[in-house]
């Protein structure tokens, strides 16, 4: 499913004295099966952008085309779009409400008007896909750990079988183990279920390890868009936006300044290791 944004702008509080331009002339193309990280500091417009992608917010100007169709056309089926583009908000576990995990995951597909058998099958499949232990299917979602609750919340969206999954800071507040689990899960979903995953984050190091493409936002505009190693080349510009490149990027640049012939575009520990060993003639 391809998504195209054509000069999308959005004003909060239009016509009032609190008017803020949250998005400014955003043009963007998202292809099938991408794994994208949207990065920016608080207030950069990244969450506003993601809420446009499933029609939760309507652009003040500009167009959004999903599979070639303009979603702002009068006869466009918004409900279908929301089924295709799943949105997982920040702290999604706050939205759990049912008495059992299984019922909670059933809620989404049930609302899509599917029959009971299909709903249950989908819930089962979704919980299986997020690696949730079967013995806990019928326990209360409120007795689970933070990481488990978040899996349940993600399964709830997954059960609606979206083609695109957008997650707003999916690892905020989780400990390192919980964070790795969620990232591994998203990678798996992208690769095995052929989904497009878009995540909003402010952790460069996490994003560098997982995504194929990074979109950097600042003041409602797209500042950089490309593969992690291309984006991190602009580490000085990133700093000015209140962001930072991974520690490794800085290290590699500093080594180069001291005349060690390393690859300054290395962004992960593994890449840096190989490059340093090569530069020192060890391999």
């Amino acid at each position: 499913m391809s998504i195209i944004l054509d000069k999308v702008s959005y004003l909060y509080g239009q016509g009032t004295s609190y008017e803020i331009m949250a998005l400014k002339d955003i043009s963007l193309k998202i292809d099938d099966n991408e794994f994208i990280g949207i990065i920016g500091h608080t207030g950069s417009g990244k969450s506003t952008l993601t809420q446009h992608l499933n029609g939760l917010i309507k652009a003040t100007s500009g167009h959004i085309y999903v599979d070639g169709e303009d979603i702002y056309d009068d006869d466009y089926d918004m409900k279908k779009l929301r089924g295709n583009v799943g949105l997982v908000f920040q702290y999604p576990e706050h939205q759990l409400f049912e008495t059992t995990v299984f019922d909670d995951v059933c809620f989404g597909p049930k609302n899509q008007g599917l029959d009971k058998k299909t709903v249950e099958l989908r819930a089962f499949e979704a919980l299986y896909n997020v690696g949730f232990p079967e013995e806990l299917f019928y326990s209360s979602p409120f007795e689970l750990s933070g990481g488990q609750k978040r899996r349940v919340a993600i399964a709830g969206v997954l059960a609606m079988k979206p083609k695109v999954l957008i997650l707003d800071e999916p690892t905020a507040g989780l400990d390192p183990a919980g964070r790795d689990e969620i990232f591994d899960l998203l990678k798996k979903m992208q690769q095995e279920l052929n989904m497009t995953i878009i995540l909003v984050s402010h952790s460069m190091e996490d994003v560098a390890n997982y995504v194929n493409r990074i979109i950097v936002m600042d003041k409602g505009q797209i500042m950089l868009d490309g593969k992690p190693r291309e984006v991190f080349k602009y580490y000085r510009e990133l700093e000015k936006m209140g962001l930072a490149a991974p520690q490794v990027t800085y290290l590699m640049h500093e080594l180069r300044e001291r005349n060690l012939d390393v690859d300054v575009d290395a962004t992960t520990v593994e890449e840096a290791k190989i490059s340093i060993l090569k530069a020192l003639g060890e391999i």
């Binding site: 500091h41 608080t42 989780l174 390192p176 190091e205 290290l251 500093e254 060690l260 020192l280």
Partner: protein, 285 residues
């Protein structure tokens, strides 16, 4: 002198079913012994559920130990006559800034703590002024807290605790919900308190980068202290940390990987500068 001394601390959460029968016991703290020297910056690391927050809540007597002893500023937490005194000396800052701010103007929020302690009005304003200055929020004193960023809110929460003039501040994952800028602001404010005001800081976190400059580090898991030492000692045990699925700072991890590949690099590298120097030394050999 030790401001906090925990000896064989145990805390059990007792789960009861509908008929009030005991249905399960969870040992959240299992024989924990921790000492904190006055004026130190001590970090406690661990996963969610490792017991670190339970321990923190013991320090200002929000929770009582099932067994064991905990002395805070020379007072036993089990002595109910000392509870208020202990809470004056040990201030807490929690994870979510939105849950801790109650007033509609920043300076009033900061004044809430000392007012509750019965401090004179004139003295309260002096303290508010000083505390806001310490955390760098003086410019926002007449603002509404809900218009502030996460990092700013958290600094207001810290100022509120500082205004009570405690000897010791316990921060329970104060940066977990903040973006990198906010995290930096808060850590700088805490470091300032520790260095300039000589307030003892106990920082509970799972961000390893934040503990590099601590005086001492405890690592907890399943209610037990599993590692302790100065940061360099802790970070030189990369395999051990990884086994417990804790994060190792990228630079430390890279240094460790390079060493494993045969480079002559010392253990426990914490900063870029250290790694660069070690690598330049190798390249000159």
């Amino acid at each position: 002198m030790n401001i906090i001394k925990a000896i064989n601390l145990v805390h059990e959460y007792i789960k009861r079913d509908e008929d009030n029968n005991v249905s399960g016991i969870t040992k959240a703290l299992d024989d924990v012994s921790i000492e904190v020297k006055e004026g130190d910056f001590v970090a406690i690391l661990g996963h969610n559920g490792s017991g670190k927050s339970t321990f923190a809540k013991h320090i200002n007597a929000l929770l009582s130990p099932t067994s064991g002893t905990l002395i805070v500023d020379g007072k036993d937490v089990l002595d109910p006559t000392k509870t208020l005194e202990i809470r004056k000396q040990a201030g807490m800052v929690f994870q979510n800034p939105d849950n801790q701010i109650i007033a509609s103007v920043v300076e009033e929020d900061v004044g809430f703590g000392p007012e509750n302690l019965g401090v004179q009005t004139e003295e309260i304003w002096k303290r508010v002024e000083k505390s806001l200055k310490t955390v760098g929020m003086t410019a926002y004193r007449h603002h509404s807290p809900n218009k502030l960023s996460g990092g700013q809110k958290q600094r207001v929460a810290i100022a509120g605790v500082v205004a009570m003039e405690p000897k010791c501040i316990i921060l329970d994952e104060p940066t977990a919900m903040l973006d990198p800028n906010g995290r930096k602001e808060v850590i700088e404010a805490i470091t300032e308190l520790n260095k300039k005001k000589n307030i003892t800081v106990i920082l509970i976190t799972h961000y390893m980068e934040e503990v590099i400059n601590a005086d001492f580090v405890y690592v907890m898991e399943s209610g037990k202290v599993i590692m302790k030492g100065v940061p360099r000692e802790i970070f030189s045990q990369v395999e051990e940390l990884k086994k417990h699925r804790l994060d190792v700072p990228q630079i430390t991890l890279l240094a460790h990987e390079l060493k494993k590949s045969g480079l002559d690099i010392p253990d426990g590298i914490l900063t870029r500068e250290e790694l660069i120097n070690a690598l330049l030394k190798v390249s000159q050999q």
